[in-house]
């Protein structure tokens, strides 16, 4: 069974073909990073315009590179939410046209759930349950206990900024560029992460996250240090604070749930200090640790196709009537 995946929830347009849910034949991404860089963040209207321009060439190239005809595609999986409505609708409309014309099933996919599947897809295997999942990206920060393809218990979430948003905001404040995560990691490479002491937000307060206070702490530190600021050390300290914050919550969750599998996913899962810290935690708890490849960390359609394959049975009966939704809780039914 070949599944065509379509992803357009933010600023990356992506289309992929995945065979039997685990073998990626092709996964192409058209990134808009350069376009949004000058604005310091994603502009929804511009993102929508660019998705519309990019999606058809990407569809053609994906089919060509996979060496398959559209008639060989068995089902279409598409991100229906959460995300930016304009961009989501462009991908959804394209997916609906394919499903309607080819008379094949359309599977609406929850983007955040799909990020977790990406970590298994990186190892060409299906998810095994239960597992503890940590999804960290520009818009999300969720700690969940997964017991099935669409069964999630949310343990923790951010009450304000997501970690990717924190990195973007700090990078903008420091004039480092966009996106913030990669530039902060590069700037902080080899620096002493203990030179500056940054707070560990919500430490000792259960599973909730908060990152806006960390941003304020960085702004204050920059002001107080003035010309003496050691920028690489600040970037290293910030990453340590983020990694340590997640590490504490994950340790607590592993102790309480006693699950033996930890999955890290989302765009910020590409952050090296975070990957290394959580690998240490998993080792300490004798847990299997799964994380995506760098390509599968960022928004991509391969994970949408793989998760669509897994959750095809959960799709609404008349899925052609599904609409895009800006907010869609993990595990919640797909709304019309």
């Amino acid at each position: 069974m070949l599944t065509l995946g379509i992803e357009s929830s933010c600023d990356d347009t992506s289309i992929a073909v995945v065979e039997n849910g685990t073998r990626v034949l092709t996964s192409l991404v058209s990134s808009q990073i350069e376009i949004h860089r000058r604005f310091g963040g994603v502009v929804p209207e511009i993102a929508s315009r660019k998705h519309l321009e990019a999606i058809l060439p990407l569809l053609r190239d994906t089919l060509e590179q996979a060496g398959v005809k559209i008639s060989e595609i068995g089902q279409v999986a598409v991100t229906a939410g959460p995300g930016l409505l304009g961009p989501l609708l462009t991908g959804l409309s394209c997916a609906k046209a394919i499903a309607w014309q080819q008379q094949i099933p359309l599977i609406p996919v929850n983007h955040i759930e799909a990020h977790l599947t990406a970590s298994f897809l990186a190892n060409q295997r299906f998810p095994e349950y239960p597992f503890l999942g940590l999804i960290v990206s520009g818009g999300h920060s969720n700690l969940v206990l997964a017991s099935g393809p669409r069964q999630f218990e949310t343990l923790g979430y951010t009450v304000d900024d997501a970690p990717g948003e924190l990195f973007d905001k700090v990078a903008r404040h420091l004039n480092l560029g966009y996106p913030g995560g990669p530039v902060i990691q590069k700037t902080g490479e080899g620096a002493d992460p203990h030179k500056y002491e940054l707070p560990r937000p919500m430490a000792g307060k259960g599973y909730l996250f908060s990152f806006s206070g960390l941003k304020t702490a960085v702004v204050r530190l920059v002001e107080s240090e003035g010309d003496a600021l050691d920028l690489p050390a600040l970037c290293a300290a910030l990453q340590l604070a983020v990694a340590d914050t997640f590490s504490r919550k994950v340790k607590l969750a592993l102790q309480e749930t006693r699950v033996k599998r930890l999955v890290l996913a989302g765009g910020v899962a590409a952050n090296k200090p975070l990957r290394e810290e959580l690998a240490r935690v998993a080792g300490k708890f004798k847990c299997e640790f799964l994380l995506p490849t760098i390509h599968l960390c960022t928004d991509n359609a391969a994970m949408i196709a793989a998760h669509g394959y897994l959750t095809a049975d959960c799709a609404p009966e008349n899925s052609l009537l599904v609409n895009a939704v800006a907010n869609w809780d993990m595990g919640a039914p797909c709304s019309f």
């Binding site: 000058r38 604005f39 502009v43 209207e45 511009i46 929508s48 315009r49 519309l52 321009e53 999606i55 058809l56 060439p57 569809l59 053609r60 559209i70 409505l85 304009g86 609708l89 462009t90 991908g91 959804l92 409309s93 394209c94 609906k96 046209a97 394919i98 309607w100 014309q101 080819q102 052609l320 009537l321 599904v322 609409n323 895009a324 019309f336």
Partner: protein, 214 residues
Amino acid sequence: MTKYLFIDASENATYIQASNSNTYFNQIFDTHRNLGAKITEICDEMLQKAAVANNEIERFIVCTGPGSLTGLRVANSFLRTLAFLSERPLAGIDLFTWTAATLKADGKRGKVCLMAPTLIDKAFAVEVDLNTDLALYQPEPKLLENRLPHSEMPTFGIRWQNAGIEKVTPTPEALHHLIETQKANSPDFSELLKILPLYIIPSQAERKLEEKKC
């Protein structure tokens, strides 16, 4: 007669026109903020009326605006994908050309000004010579700071009226005539990609960036 499917999603209600070999059908659907959900359902309904299967459509035509950019993009993404998959041509028809064709069909001649409201208190305007071949007309709309007539020409508002501006509603007959007389685009991939909504004014973020530069 060509079997075609036309979608105008420039407003909250979506207008669809479909034809079979003998006649055409049209309907307005209430799709307020819900076109993304309803698009296949309303196309099914129209094609059923026309007794045409979706793989029998010979031409796809999409309204390029001006109007609701979200609606225009949904219709555009849907129809251009269908055109690509079926290797059939896609054409764009803007509201200015369609309205001009309506006025021409009504016996009007000479130069007229067409206006469409946008943003707060602003309007798009074009001048068009109804004596020319409208199938070849390429509008170049200007953004006006107010919604008042700005020339000596007879001024018409598209689905809208104001002091000194007469309301015109584009008609199904004029659209059908325009589609039938318009030379069909080639189904080439490069031609498909040229059909985009009318982006007359930059996005708010682009405008702010320009202001900053100034």
